[in-house]
């Protein structure tokens, strides 16, 4: 009997076709193919355009790229490789690739990302109304090593996140040690809403005017609605950041390229890297979440976008003198998505307690990778935080996760 007790009126019943059943065969094929294979206290305004500064702890830099929910089937599988040409061909051969990175927590956005960032499975409100209950990597790094806020950033597209993703509710840590958090896509949506409310929708069809709309959305009282948290400015954007954001918007609008939320997130992230060169940068892409609306084509397009933008971020790491040679970049999805035929409507959602939803992958690149290889041993999302904390030189953490041995400074 099917019942309507569960969220979304969808409760477990056996699924008919599970693409995950192809994994064994796919894995072999995939493996064959893959075988080819106290410092930091300067203010941001002072940082921009000046020479190198002293880095906190080990001096290691971290860039974490978190993609929304993507299944193995559409990514690292024989049929999925076509969607990730950069990850599979350009980056895989030089990476430490974990074939199984498992999310064993709540497979919803806020909880998934906060679990990655804290090293503990978080079970808080899915709408981001509650902060993670244990300290984030940012807090541990900042408090443990006396690091300035300008050295820790989150740039995210995902609408399910709030500024609470940047710091925990732990009374020994908290917002005083949190990261800067910006949501570029929210800026874009607010610009659209403002234009609609004020009868200026024609501006959204004209690239030359979109830029002004975006800048207007970030100014004055509007800023609060964006849900950002930058340099403790509660109701208006810190002037130190304004120039960077304006540059990012200009690149986004004038570049003539695609105009999705993830594109703006990329430009903003790159600008943050160029202007502030933070030691810890977390970038969350979410165009793939068009899947919730049932468009498989737009979901796959989101995967291709994330693939390209993650690669461009890596290129920035390799060319930017503040990052080159001393940075580890990690790329991983928040979770998979539900299998075809599941009672939770397949790729639309990410609620099923099945491998298709829980079993993803993770790629590490850069300074902490001694030897590129594919690791079949499963790891967990919560293992990443203690691993990165080690790289940064943080004191040992109280974490459910365990540091990943192959990733070391």
């Amino acid at each position: 009997m099917e019942n309507g007790l569960c969220p979304g009126a969808e409760i477990g019943s056996p699924f008919v076709v599970d693409p995950g059943s192809l994994v064994d065969h796919s894995k072999r094929t995939f493996l064959r193919g893959a075988g080819m294979l106290m410092a930091g206290l300067l203010l941001p305004t002072a940082r921009a355009g000046q020479g190198p500064r002293v880095q906190a702890g080990s001096g290691h830099k971290i860039v974490v790229v978190i993609v929304g929910g993507v299944r193995r089937d559409e990514t690292f599988s024989p049929q999925g490789m076509v969607n990730i040409p950069h990850l599979s061909a350009d980056l895989l051969p030089r990476s430490l690739f974990y074939l199984h990175a498992r999310n064993e927590g709540v497979t919803a956005h806020f909880n998934a990302i906060s679990s990655i960032l804290t090293g503990n499975w978080q079970r808080v409100d899915d709408w981001g109304k509650l902060a993670p209950t244990t300290p984030t990597l940012f807090e541990q790094f900042r408090k443990g090593l006396g690091v300035d806020r300008s050295d820790t950033w989150v740039v995210a597209s995902n609408k399910a996140l709030t500024s609470l993703i940047g710091a925990s509710s732990d009374s020994n840590y908290g917002p005083a040690y949190g990261a800067n958090v910006v949501f570029p896509k929210q800026l874009m949506l607010m610009a659209v809403v403002d234009a609609l409310r004020n009868g200026r929708t024609a501006n959204m069809a004209d690239r030359s005017k979109v830029e002004a709309e975006l800048e207007s959305a970030m100014e004055g009282s509007n800023y609060e609605g964006l849900g950002w948290n930058v340099f403790d400015a509660s109701d208006r954007l810190d002037p130190r950041v304004r120039g960077s954001i304006e540059t990012a918007i200009a690149s986004f609008v004038r570049g003539g390229g695609p105009t999705s939320g993830d594109e703006l997130t990329f430009f903003m992230s790159r600008e943050v890297m160029r202007k502030f060169a933070p030691q810890v940068l977390v970038v969350a892409f979410s165009d793939v979440e068009a899947a919730h609306f049932g468009s498989f084509a737009l979901h796959v397009s989101g995967i291709r976008t994330a693939d390209r933008l993650a690669y461009q971020l890596w290129q920035e790491v390799e060319t930017n003198p503040d990052y080159r040679g001393k940075t580890t970049m990690v790329i991983l999805p928040e979770f998979g998505r539900d299998p075809d035929g599941s009672s939770t409507n397949g790729f639309f959602n990410h609620r099923a307690n099945m491998d298709s939803t829980r079993d993803t992958w993770m790629m590490a690149l850069g300074a902490a990778v001694d030897k590129p290889q594919i690791v079949e041993r499963p790891i967990h999302h919560i293992d990443l935080c203690p691993t990165l904390a080690d790289l940064l030189g943080c004191p040992p953490l109280d974490s459910q996760g365990r540091a990943i041995g192959e990733i070391r400074g």
Binding site: D126, L189, M204, H292, N353
Partner: protein, 434 residues
Amino acid sequence: MRIEDKLPGDIQDALSKGLLKRIPLTFLPFVNQQLNQWVNLFPNERQATERLLLYVASLNEEQSTALFHEVVELEEKMGVRNWQFSTTEQTIQNSSQLASSPYFQHWRQAVQAVFDAADAHVREANNASAKSGNRLVLLDIPQPLQVDAASVWQRWQGIGRPVQLDLGLTGEHNSALELLLAGTPNPAGLRSGGLLDLARSRPEAAPADVWVVDAGRSLVDALLAPETAGTAASGAILLSNGRLDLYRQSFSHEMNTMRKDLADADAVFDRLRKVDVTPWCPPEVAADPAIREFLRSLYLTGNGAVIFGNSFVEWAASEAFRRARPSFLAAQFGVRSKPKPFTGVAVFDNPDQVNPLPAIDDLPGSAVDARMLALYVWLAAYRYPEYQRSTVCVCVAESLSQAYVVAPPEFGLWKETEPVPLGRLAGALRAWMA
């Protein structure tokens, strides 16, 4: 009239004897919602609810404690009594609290075990499976959506086989599905011999047994046209995404006022659960309260139904299978527009309102969506035992003049190797449904 008075006598009797006091807390939102909505439930849902409640009522106290033991134990561990948990209806806050609990997956399994036990009890009591006639799921990926012959059926993983068709479509008709459903016109211009007419007039056809879901409006418009109206369409549930524009836009407009807050979300949903939707409905929906409520529930449960026509088709069909178990369901996919620049995907109910650039059809993207969602419609049906035997699924890809057929060996066209004219396909489907 009180809600209880609308319930069957045996349920009224069980309720008066304190049945609800034996139901665990986390079951109550579902049970109360079903009872409150009784008049708008489909026959299959009423039977399912009745089975569960009468099964519980038939147990003595010790047995019912044993039945719910695991659920109650998990509720204790989860601390449900300390939550802000609605027992009258399912809310987003309820769902959020349940899903955040470390015991959520165990709870889901325990709940399913209770339903399975009720089902097993009914099977034993009846000592025989209910007889049901043949069933048909008919899907159409229409001509403008060009699909690739090499990959279009790949995800079906060989559960059926492709059959070449000789469609011979002319410009006079919108789609192969229209011809199959409405029949071909006679010299007087009237149509006859359509599958819809046959399906709705089957002696065993129950209410809500015949459904047509259209991503656009041309199919349902044709079925309601004077030359077919009154014959084929009557007695069938016709859902056209295009004809539901006002309903959909009114709903999504409300949803867009929602702040990112659970309490606010539940307040908006509460408003949408109560608002009179009749003025937003086309006549074929306005006339039937159960269908009006079906759509309300459909839009409230998301899955893109308010955003994209093809998502509407897939989710409406899936919910129809889950809730009504129709013996005949036909669905036609369609074309969506490309997302407009700088507006974000699918955020606004009416993209034309927020960006005056002309809408551009996304034909390749729509074809990819339809290809996937057609499979999902069949998988949604196959989840239920009723569709695991004596059911034919035919998915027509008009651009390839091909159909993918999932059918028992006795189906007429199962072994066909030559191109099958549309008339012959119609004949085989009529024979199957007769």
